[in-house]
């Protein structure tokens, strides 16, 4: 689960991490009121959306004039930011963070995540902060340092010394290194206690008076552990999430919206991804990822259909079910009752395989519904692409 920058900073501050004084506001008046309480020579107005790349997209404004804060806030609120992570439709700015500025001496990069190869937490550091770490990994891989933490013994002082050497803090005032050691401890405690999957401080700033402060913060929490962190779950921002995805999750469906025109309904995540790939290979574009799960019932199939059909971009639907535990005749029943209940405006191709596949296909063929049933995966993918991309041609030939 993603959280906003202001929420991440608030949660980190509870663990003793130093962050700039700031407040998230939703209108110009509140922005001005808050700015008047800050005593700073420089102010930051930052759009609060979950996606990264806000700075490049014009979502971060800096001013030396306190009286400009309100105007800048107003200029951001309600606009739609398009960054490399939002997709072409962008994300609407509903809140801005008003912060006091910081006198920057040096910008660093620091993050903490789980290394999948070892299964250990790892601190990633780089003496050049403020830039995209993926970009740095390409241009200056030698500048990036990784410090692996054995989870059985936890964070030790030597980890800190190694990171200090990489970041060049040993040549600075001793109090900077001391504050950095404390920061590492706080981040590690936060990470483990709160089941974070990623904490990224970019930039981490060394101030003119030799302090250390998290100027930006991105925190992602492990979805599987949210049940044990009600305080984290409370700050979930549903506005940042796709409406259809929220609706799907209520019915135990795993749905991710994409930009194409062929809706997919599949059981199992791996097969669902492979089905999307197959549609692409056949010349189409998948409209979504949808995993109906291992225990799909008639009811979940019906809900899945509703979700697929409510995406107006969908011009055709490909159902691909490999019946293992799920029995194909149940899926067929779900498709039939969904089609009877809803106005199905697009062609449907159903590929059933595995447990009771024959029975399922018979049900579909006898239902009188206009759909194509097949057992062959590649044939099914090609059929749905053909029906979707060339409807006029199809009409002439049939």
């Amino acid at each position: 689960m993603n959280v906003h920058e202001f929420q991440a900073k608030r949660l980190l501050a509870q663990y003793g991490v130093n962050v700039p004084k700031g407040k998230a506001v939703t209108n110009k008046d509140a922005a001005e009121r808050w700015a008047s309480k800050l005593d700073s020579s420089i102010y930051a107005v930052k759009a609060q959306i979950h996606a990264g790349g806000r700075g490049l997209a014009g979502g971060v404004k800096i001013t030396k004039k306190r009286e400009d804060v309100g105007i800048l806030a107003k200029s951001l609120l309600g606009t739609t930011l398009i960054t490399h992570q939002t997709g072409p439709q962008g994300q609407k700015v509903r809140r801005v963070l008003i912060e006091e500025g910081v006198a920057i001496k040096k910008e660093l990069y620091l993050s903490l995540l789980i290394d999948r190869r070892t299964g250990w937490p790892v601190f990633v550091s780089c003496p050049e902060g403020g830039m995209d770490i993926e970009e740095l990994a390409k241009t200056k891989p030698q500048a990036i340092h990784k410090e692996y933490i054995d989870p059985s013994s936890g964070l030790q002082a030597f980890h800190g010394r190694n990171l200090i050497l990489n970041l060049g803090l040993h040549v600075m005032e001793p109090q900077t290194a001391k504050q950095f050691m404390a920061l590492l401890g706080n981040l590690y405690r936060f990470f483990m206690n709160k089941d974070a999957s990623q904490v990224e401080i970019n930039p981490l700033v060394i101030t003119e008076d030799h302090g250390i402060i998290a100027l930006d913060a991105k925190v992602i929490f492990d979805d599987n552990a949210l049940a044990r962190h009600p305080d984290v779950l409370k700050v979930r921002d549903l506005y940042e999430e796709e409406k259809l995805e929220i609706e799907a999750s209520k019915h135990g469906l795993n749905y991710v919206k994409l930009d194409g025109s062929i809706g997919c309904m599949v059981n199992g995540a791996g097969l669902a991804m492979a089905t999307m790939d197959l549609i692409k290979l056949a010349g189409g574009e998948p409209a979504n990822f949808l995993d109906v799960g291992g225990g799909a019932s008639q009811e979940t199939v019906k809900e899945a259909f509703k979700i697929l059909l409510s995406d107006r971009k969908v011009k055709g639907i490909f159902v691909n079910i490999f019946g293992g535990i799920v029995r194909c005749e149940r899926i067929a029943g779900g498709i039939i009752s969904a089609a009877e209940e809803m106005h199905v405006r697009v062609p449907i191709v159903v590929r059933l395989q595995g447990t009771n596949a024959e029975q399922g296909r018979n049900l579909l063929n006898k239902s009188g519904l206009k759909l194509k049933a097949t057992t062959d995966l590649w044939e099914g993918a090609q059929a749905v692409v053909e029906l979707t991309t060339a409807p006029s041609k199809k009409r002439h030939t049939s």
Partner: protein, 289 residues
């Protein structure tokens, strides 16, 4: 021959009195697997589907000489169940449960490192040695005893591949689902090494997906150590970065994690990479001829 499990493998099912655990314990036994015991704390002395239930793993192993555990315990209690299994003396733990917090698995993985206990999963369909022992939730009837080993991070996509291998007349030796979570037990390299050593296995199908670099490690291993042909498919060429595609581990967060990059690396390591998941079986037939 086969890898990891065979007809003499004795299995305890942890969480046997639950709906899933009970159903699949029955299915496994029907396939021919020796399900010798179940464990549910507080339900010792009862029977589930005629299988004796014990309160603790220690008791179950002492009484039945079981060497393998199959876990269906709910996610929040799963780490505890794995630790209990490891302490009881079983040498193979197969964990089906989905949704275990990553931090819990970090602890489990660290604790099992350097021991002789092997973990398959979590969030996986399990393992089957065809015609001998099914320890998991895969449908038994699609398998056919044969020549090919299968390793996969996915469930139903594995069934798809198995069906293709059966239809091609190749069949399978052992099929292992290693699971879709970011931190888990045995990885591609561990299983590839076992298949390379297994005299019955003539070729290996490896099904990967986006996220992590397990496939990159596997490519290094294929290049250096595999004499048998490896046919590989990587799911998620159309998956957008930064989005979790169902599996907790199926998310592209950095370089080297995309399907295209993994396919390229595997290809240059000498694997037979297919971009059409409907042609995995036929590609294996080609590779073996």
């Amino acid at each position: 021959m086969s890898i990891l499990v065979n007809k003499s493998t004795k299995v305890v099912v942890q969480g046997i009195t639950g709906k899933e655990g009970g159903f699949h314990a029955g299915q496994c036994r029907e396939y021919g697997t020796q399900i010798v015991a179940g464990v549910t704390p507080g339900k010792g002395g009862k029977k589930a589907k005629g299988i004796p239930v014990f309160d603790t793993m220690q008791e179950a192993v002492r009484e039945t000489k079981a060497d393998t555990s199959l876990i269906f315990v709910p996610a929040s209690f799963c780490a505890d169940a794995i630790y209990e299994a490891a302490a009881s003396g079983v040498k193979l733990i197969v964990c089906i449960t989905e949704g275990i917090p990553v931090n819990d698995m970090v602890g489990v993985k660290r604790s099992l490192a350097g021991t002789d206990v092997r973990l398959i999963g979590p969030n996986c369909p399990g393992i089957i040695t065809v015609g001998e022992s099914k320890i998991g939730i895969m449908p038994g009837f699609i398998h056919k005893r044969g020549r090919v080993g299968v390793i996969s991070r996915s469930g139903t996509l594995t069934y798809e591949v198995v069906k293709q291998l059966t239809d091609e007349g190749l069949g399978q030796t052992t099929c292992v689902g290693i699971g879709g979570d970011p931190v888990g037990g045995m990885n591609f390299v561990d299983i590839l090494a076992l298949f390379e050593q297994d005299p019955k296995t003539e070729g290996v199908v490896m099904i990967g997906e986006i996220g992590g670099d397990a496939e990159v490690q596997a490519a290094e291993f294929v290049k250096k150590n595999m004499k048998k042909p490896v046919v590989s498919f990587i799911a998620g060429i159309t998956a957008p970065p930064g989005r979790r595609m169902g599996h907790a581990g199926a998310i592209v967060t950095g370089g080297g994690e995309t399907a295209a990059e993994k396919m390229k690396i595997l290809k240059s390591a000498g694997a037979h990479v297919v971009d059409n998941p409907a042609q995995i079986g036929s590609r294996m037939t080609q590779a073996l001829n």
